[in-house]
Symmetry: C2
Subunit: 441 residues, 2 copies
């Protein structure tokens, strides 16, 4: 048998939901797949807020890409960072080398978006990576420690005020988890402060939480959060943000809130590789930096280059771009794999990707969630069980599914958050606190 040099070379950039599902769906195809990622693991991002709030450990929501793909012999995993593209010679340019392709699948994901205020980033970290999550965990739990040590009432109050900017799924989940931490998990842990006195603010520019969902769902989520003691500020914009707190504008009136811990869940920006595609392959970008793709997820005029997941601006039936969520990415990954396979096998591929919306969910807290599943809309305990089931089923490795379920069961019955470790550089003297920002003047 001749060596497999003549097999089509499929290069996938990004081992998130889109890229990993594309690679897996190519398992039986007569192609050579190279999966390139900057990290050596697939991250189950929907549970990242659990790491940020001490409920799970990073290893419980991440699976080594090589382990997931070890038995799939037509895949080579490459730890590498794509920095450029040579579209005419069909080569992905890495920081340290080049990788030739016949077909390219780009799914590098997204990063935080501060809407032109990148100076806010050090004071209001977003939640996209393991390092983001352990950094937020550090800030959260150091804030309670600093409050315990702080004799001044006003300063203590600032340490015990937590603001989450953005009330999409991540913001709602963070705010709900924070409420549980302060009301239950830490209840008996301190001697000078009462963690239950912590203020948790959820700031949202739209007129309701979970804005893309049906209004009745937003109402249920809002009521559940309010029941946990979260102060919901809708129709509210952030106009200033620094180490000492934030300024909110609502109906023309401004309010300054002293808060030492602010988390950013307000927006994402597409990967900078979008600009590379624009410059090197003539791609068109939308205002959020996403790449406009055709109905077959390929670049217009470049049928060998596909863009998937958070980087893709892929319209739904109403012309609205599909949201940057895991189900969209998974379906796109599988669809592109089927298209590639059909082409290789000489069949006529499907020409149009269609997203099948199976529903949306957000978890509020222990035994509390909201869900839209087809025609069903439900909240509370049944929604929470549905949320738990769906998320556990999608965790890639069997190991994670089982042990995360057990961890969850344990946490549920005990209000435990045993992974609330403060790691990283020395925080002393403690008043410097959270994230290495300068002390309050």
């Amino acid at each position: 048998m001749p060596p497999a040099v003549s097999r089509p070379r499929i290069v996938i950039v990004g081992g998130g939901f889109a890229g990993l599902y594309a690679a897996r769906a190519l398992s039986r195809a007569p192609v050579d797949v190279t999966l390139i990622d900057r990290r050596n693991f697939h991250l189950f991002q929907p549970l990242l807020y659990q790491v940020a709030t001490g409920g799970l450990s990073p290893g419980q929501i991440a699976s080594p890409l090589r382990a997931v793909l070890a038995r799939q012999k037509n895949v080579t995993v490459l730890l590498g960072e794509m920095v450029d593209l040579d579209a005419d010679r069909r080569r992905v340019v890495l920081a340290d080398g080049e990788v030739p392709y016949d077909t390219l699948v780009l799914a590098p994901g997204a990063t935080h978006h501060y809407f032109g205020r990148d100076d806010w980033a050090p004071h209001a970290p977003g939640l996209k990576t393991i390092e983001d999550a352990t950094g937020i965990r550090r800030r959260l739990f150091l804030a309670f420690e600093a409050a315990e040590r702080e004799p001044d009432e006003a300063r203590r109050r600032a340490w015990l005020t937590f603001a989450v900017v953005g009330a999409g799924a991540t913001g709602v989940e963070l705010a709900g988890a924070l409420a549980e931490i302060s009301r239950e998990t830490l209840r008996h842990d301190f001697r000078r402060i009462d963690p239950r006195e912590a203020s948790i603010l959820l700031v949202e520019a739209a007129d309701r939480v979970l804005p893309p969902n049906p209004p009745e769902l937003s109402a249920k989520a809002g009521a559940a959060l309010a029941g946990l003691g979260v102060r919901i500020l809708t129709g509210t914009r952030v106009t200033a943000l620094d180490a000492g707190g934030l300024t909110l504008e609502r109906g023309g009136a401004e309010e300054r809130i002293a808060a030492r811990t602010v988390m950013w869940a307000a927006g994402v920006r597409a990967s900078p590789l979008g600009a590379v595609l624009r410059d090197r392959a003539g791609a068109e970008l939308d205002r959020a930096g996403r790449v406009l793709v055709g109905p077959d997820l390929a670049l217009p005029g470049r049928p060998e280059i596909h863009v998937l997941g958070d980087l893709a601006h892929c319209p739904d039936e109403n012309g609205q771009p599909l949201p940057g969520i895991a189900p969209v990415a998974m379906q796109q990954g599988r669809w592109v794999a089927a298209k590639i396979r059909a082409g290789v096998e000489g069949r006529k591929p499907d020409s149009t990707f269609r997203y099948r919306d199976k529903g949306t969910m957000a978890v509020i807290g222990r035994g509390s969630a909201v869900a839209v599943l087809g025609p069903l809309r439900f909240a509370g305990y049944p929604a929470w069980l549905a949320w738990l089931f769906v998320h556990l089923m999608y965790l890639v490795e069997f190991e994670n599914r089982l042990l995360v379920l057990l961890q969850w069961a344990w946490n549920y019955f005990t209000w435990n958050r045993g992974a609330r470790l403060i790691t990283g550089p020395s925080p002393f003297p403690l008043a410097r606190g959270g994230g290495g920002e300068p002390p309050e003047p």
Copy 2:
């Protein structure tokens, strides 16, 4: 009832085995305990090598101190760093404040010791903290990634050569885990390299591995390691160490070994607080920086200051200092608590701490360990089960015991090390590799 101002104030510095067990043993005593630690968690150090080798996550071997002590109302936990001592005014000086005491229990632990070659530290990290463990994990798994990307044979060999300096329990455990990783866990993960070709060196200056144990045990451990493919170099000293490798001297002959990953398990140095005790309270230190204590674990002439654990030079019946291991620290913690309680309750305390040696164990790998338990000496599977049982029983929180056991069972049957995440700063370009050291010239 008057406020409890007249209750004796017991200040414990350090939440390791000695400090935490002392605090817990004081639960029913009519005293006010303040436990000060720089970290917000108790770390189960005997399993730290499992984090360094991707078998367990940090959250699985660490328990928040506040959670462990939440229900013990006579304990206040303080996140703080002791920087000085005012022995005459009986105050512990923190980076940001002072804490008065009537009785002081100092158990701050130990750090790495490079025997005057601190310049080796960046190239050969030790294993004492969570950050050490995730840093070593990063180096280990990045080395395999760099080898996969390296076209040059000699450089690839250097990436696939791992040296562990020091064959005490930690060194033996690291070398054994490394052998399993390369022979089994990563077996199917790469396409260009065969991880089974990795060289694992265990370097020891004494004439056998596990030197403080009976020779027959060392022999069994050595045979088990050799069976896993570890190259054991006893009677061997390190004379040079840099980013590219190390120079070994054995019987007068020197050998240079190109190894990009070196781990240091050769020695510990007592906490710098020993010097504070010498300068502020007239303590005498041994050559390793440990504080000479009396038979009651107190400083001679300062009966209110106790030193426990790795910082204490506490002689056994033969005049040899007790080793810096968890059982010694736990027994000292409990003994000091009993002494304090007797004093407070007006009883005559026991005047002499005696260590009850219940045995020593070291694990080699999957189903393989060596153990001395009283008159029994055994190896192989029974020793491994004994090791597993003892270690799980000592994990402080019930949660950890159960889930770590399950994780272990899973890892055992699947050779899994699902926590092998490469986290931290960007490693690109990859040839820079391991730990941010400069590239090989």
